[in-house]
């Protein structure tokens, strides 16, 4: 099975992650044929999830389709790369009913278009007009600083780094003073 997958669909070998978990990187155009093959011929009846990782340095999204067998003891991770710019791929909802909602989630979070999915409305967000939040270029801290106000700190709220530096200086001075006192005492004793 693994050699067939390698020859027909993938560039690399199938990687065995641990007992019962396999991963293969597939060419994007052969992905759906492989999913159909796994489903029809090898008993991978359930689609667990579709997930996406943003590799902004390399300019692509890694889409991972995770499928499980009927006995649920073997899991296959099918990874494929799509371009970040105007990211789009085909929908899987005609094969798996639950793919619809997973794609809707990814569409909202990454802005990936799934052709053939009839409902890609907002899922968790409401009236969101900014960059899709899970893309790497979206900086959530900057967004928070621009849009929301924080409560002022307490009056006794101090810069911890400066404070520890100050305390360390005091301790050092004390130590030196003690040392000096000791030395002078010693000197007195000698005298």
């Amino acid at each position: 099975m693994f050699s067939e997958i390698k020859n027909r669909f993938a560039t690399d070998d199938v990687e065995v992650k641990r007992k019962g978990l396999y991963k293969v990187v597939v060419k994007h155009e052969r992905l759906f044929a492989l999913i159909v093959m796994l489903k029809e011929m090898y008993d991978y009846k359930t689609l667990n999830t579709i997930t996406c990782t943003d590799w902004i340095e390399e300019g692509h999204f890694a889409l991972t389709y995770i499928m499980t067998t009927l006995k649920r003891n073997e899991t296959f991770m099918l990874q494929t790369m799509i371009l970040r710019e105007e990211a789009h791929t085909k929908s899987l909802s005609y094969l798996f009913k639950q793919a619809q909602i997973m794609e809707r989630d990814l569409h909202e979070m990454y802005g990936i278009k799934f052709e053939g999915n009839e409902n890609l409305k907002e899922l968790s967000l409401e009236n969101w007009v900014h960059t899709p939040p899970l893309r790497r270029e979206f900086d959530t801290l900057e967004f928070v600083n621009n849009h929301l106000t924080f409560r002022d700190g307490r009056d006794d709220n101090i810069d911890t780094k400066a404070e520890s530096k100050r305390l360390r200086a005091i301790k050092k001075a004390e130590k030196e003073a003690a040392k000096k006192a000791k030395e002078s005492k010693k000197a007195e004793d000698v005298q």
Partner: protein
């Protein structure tokens, strides 16, 4: 000697003949009634809601203090904002809060309502609840234990009894301030618009 039951009764009921009371007797009586029966709206807005069932059931038994659940906003006295508050929920909380009838009180649970808490850098939660709605009492903790929730309630009852808890008046007086803040995060269309309500049309008022 005032111990056990007697002591608790004294703490809870206060002294009817207290000379410190600056209220007239009708106000005093009204406040006393209000503080003895607090109906809490059943709306779990965040994760703090998981400590509500223990608070209201047999172990901690908030009902012995006159605190119990209410199903609808029109019948409720207190709304609990239990933890982080996403924009989508904030819109619903504002709607629910405005539906409640006066006097109404707002109890905020958890560090998230105070200053964002765990989610201080999250793009979808507000950081300071009192900018958007008037807060009577904060209960801190992540999440607050049932004991602290009860303590918050007792402190609220004390304020109600003294006539100090009047956040709903604050909300009405400073409505523009709150509305401005609400629109800043939720956009211009903050529900409800109150433009298409039944009483503006035929058959209404």
């Amino acid at each position: 000697m005032e111990t056990g039951f007697l002591q608790e009764q004294k703490v809870l009921e206060g002294d009817l003949n207290s000379e410190n009371s600056h209220q007239n007797s009708v106000d005093f009586l009204m406040n006393w009634f209000r503080k003895q029966s607090i109906f809490v709206l059943a709306y779990g807005t965040g994760c703090g809601a998981i400590e509500m069932p223990p608070t209201f059931t047999s172990r901690y038994d908030a009902e012995r203090l006159g605190i119990r659940g209410a199903a609808t906003p029109r019948q409720a006295d207190v709304i609990i904002v239990s933890g982080y508050c996403s924009y989508k929920t904030l819109r619903r909380i504002i709607r629910t809060y405005e539906q409640m009838s006066n006097p109404k009180y707002l109890l905020a649970l958890g560090s998230c309502t105070v200053n964002g808490g765990m989610y201080w850098d999250s793009y979808n939660t507000i950081k300071k609840l009192e900018d958007y709605l008037p807060v009577d009492m904060y209960v801190n903790g992540c999440m607050p234990r049932p004991e602290s929730i009860l303590e918050g309630f007792i402190a609220l009852q004390k304020e109600i009894g003294e006539g100090k808890a009047s956040s709903w008046q604050k909300y009405e007086e400073n409505y523009e301030f709150y509305r401005k803040n609400q629109e800043a995060v939720l956009g211009k269309k903050v529900e409800p618009s109150y433009e298409a309500d039944w009483y503006l049309y035929e058959g209404g008022l």
